[in-house]
């Protein structure tokens, strides 16, 4: 458990107080959605999965012991949801790698609205070309600001491994950027 405020929110959630649910949604839904967006690379799917994450979280509230922060807990559920969805999609074999959008499908792009500078746009494009585990580590650490310890809980990996995975993902992103610029 992180701090007193979080302990109070968790206690209020367990008492079934609506304002606590609203606080958790308001604080964390953006982060969960973004994480899922960079994993799935598809806005509508990220939106659906975000809803599933919160539904699952409310259902699992009794089993949440509060050893991790609510943010870490929600991201772990999100990651598991994504892995499950990826498995389902894999069985159908209808989508390309990592739940990415099928080629040629027009989708709304919430990231494009934000990416004001060309540099950020390039980084974002390079990020999307990376493998799922690289996108997951970079999104968790640099975009969502989770520590290596928190990431270890989310990804169910040892802390040292997560640190190494993040460094490797950053190197791969750098490589993507330089390679991409070579082709331009």
């Amino acid at each position: 458990m992180r701090d007193r405020a979080e302990r109070q929110i968790l206690s209020a959630l367990r008492e079934g107080r609506r304002e606590a649910y609203e606080a958790v949604v308001g604080t964390h839904y953006g982060s969960v959605y973004r994480f899922l967006l960079f994993l799935t690379r598809e806005a509508s799917l990220a939106e659906d999965l975000t809803q599933e994450v919160f539904t699952a979280a409310w259902g699992a509230l009794d089993r949440f012991e509060g050893r991790a922060s609510i943010k870490t807990w929600l991201h772990r559920i999100a990651y598991n949801m994504f892995v499950d969805a990826q498995r389902r999609q894999g069985r159908h074999a209808a989508r390309i790698e990592g739940l990415g959008r099928p080629p040629g499908e027009a989708v709304s792009d919430p990231v494009a609205d934000v990416v004001a500078t060309e540099e950020v746009a390039r980084v974002r494009q390079a990020l999307e070309r990376l493998a799922v585990e690289d996108r997951a580590t970079l999104a968790l650490h640099y975009i969502e600001g989770l520590s290596y310890r928190e990431m270890a809980r989310v990804l169910d990996q040892p802390g040292g491994t997560v640190k190494w995975l993040t460094r490797r993902a950053l190197a791969r992103l750098r490589h993507q950027l330089t390679e991409g610029s070579d082709h331009e």
């Binding site: 308001g26 919160f54 509230l61 640099y142």
Partner: protein, 123 residues
Amino acid sequence: MNDRRQADSGTIPKEWLEARLRALKGVEPPGRLKDKLLSGVPASGADHGGFPPASHRFRVLRYVGVAAAILILASLAVPRLTFRSGPPRIIADINDRSGSSALVDHNHPRPADINVYDHNAVP
């Protein structure tokens, strides 16, 4: 532009890359998503704020269930025990020496019966 040149030349500084990644935090979810999530808040959170949490309710329900099961088992077991230990039924005993027998079994194989009540016995 200097940063751009660095990126293009393959010497992308870590700080440059991290800063651009952090800029992606500005991606906002669609506005309707929050409404959907709030509408999905469980009923215990929305309509029954004063109710005890689900875990407490389940615990109480479990205790009530166990108590009900014990009562049902007891109500089934007690009558049986009572019949077994209660007063014996009054039955006609052919060998009762009080002479108040109400029934006579003519086919009873025991010699005592034959001697006393068997009308078919050979004299």
